[in-house]
Symmetry: C2
DNA sequence: ATAAATACGACTGATCCGGTCTTATATTAC
DNA sequence: GTAATATAAGACCGGATCAGTCGTATTTAT
């Protein structure tokens, strides 16, 4: 209930791992997976998404891997979630992309008042950056 | 992602409905279900949980139904979630009951720092009461 | 050429969740 | 005392989601 997905957790763990160590260092998906006892394949996919979104940069081939290229204080948790889930974190369908087709939409009486809660949740995830979890 | 369940939404809609109208009035599950286009059986189960937890009182038999018996400003959203889901709203397994057996638990490096986010989420749902959604 | 790494899509098994159905019980109206 | 109307509660089902796996292609250093 209300929980972040494993993928997001793995992203945060991996990014934290990179942020902890010297900038410019290259980490392989495998070494991170082993270190934290995580499914290698799943972590790899997560890192690929982070690559596409520009949070890390990947080097292919032997001696390849991933490097963090953003300052930890510039990486918001909300952004990570957005990248991995491909949608914003919302407390109800109606606040998401295309939320108008929630079955309740027309009769819904709590959408307006809960907007404030959604807004505060947004703020919470926006103000929390990678730096805070180092 | 991070969304409240339909059951919680239905609870909030129903409770709001009751809170809007005069105190002491008895509402049937059916009339609420019809009014908001909600599955009657599901709503009924939700109301039964709210009855067990003392938020509403039920009257069985003909002319029966449910009555709100708590002041709207005394009913926290966090409490409703807790009652309906039978667990606290958490952003990760480790913050829930028996969270120690998350597969990541020992190697997890983000539990401690994310505690603050979890705490803020708790505050958010605690400070939001039924009154705010009327 | 080979080894080691990322890239990416397809597949699977388990779990969860919204919704339904059925039966029992309580209360009122007649 | 029977019928009608309500709550109470448990079992069941189908679809969706998700964590995790597998297979294959591609890139690059040695």
């Amino acid at each position: 209930m209300l929980q972040l997905s494993k993928k997001v957790e793995y992203a945060l763990i991996a990014l934290r791992h990179m942020a902890m160590n010297s900038h410019g260092h290259v980490f392989t998906a495998k070494e991170i997976a082993v270190k934290y006892n995580i499914s290698y394949e799943l972590l790899a996919k997560v890192l690929q998404k982070l690559t596409k979104s520009g949070v890390v940069v990947s080097l292919q081939g032997m001696h390849g891997g991933y490097t963090l290229v953003k300052r930890p204080d510039q990486v918001q948790i909300s952004y990570i979630i957005n990248v991995i889930e491909e949608e914003k974190p919302t407390i109800a369908e109606c606040y998401a992309e295309g939320g108008e087709d929630c079955s309740l939409f027309d009769a819904c009486t709590i959408r307006k008042p809960l907007e404030k809660v959604q807004h505060n949740l947004n703020l919470l995830f926006e103000k929390t950056t990678l730096e805070q979890i180092i």
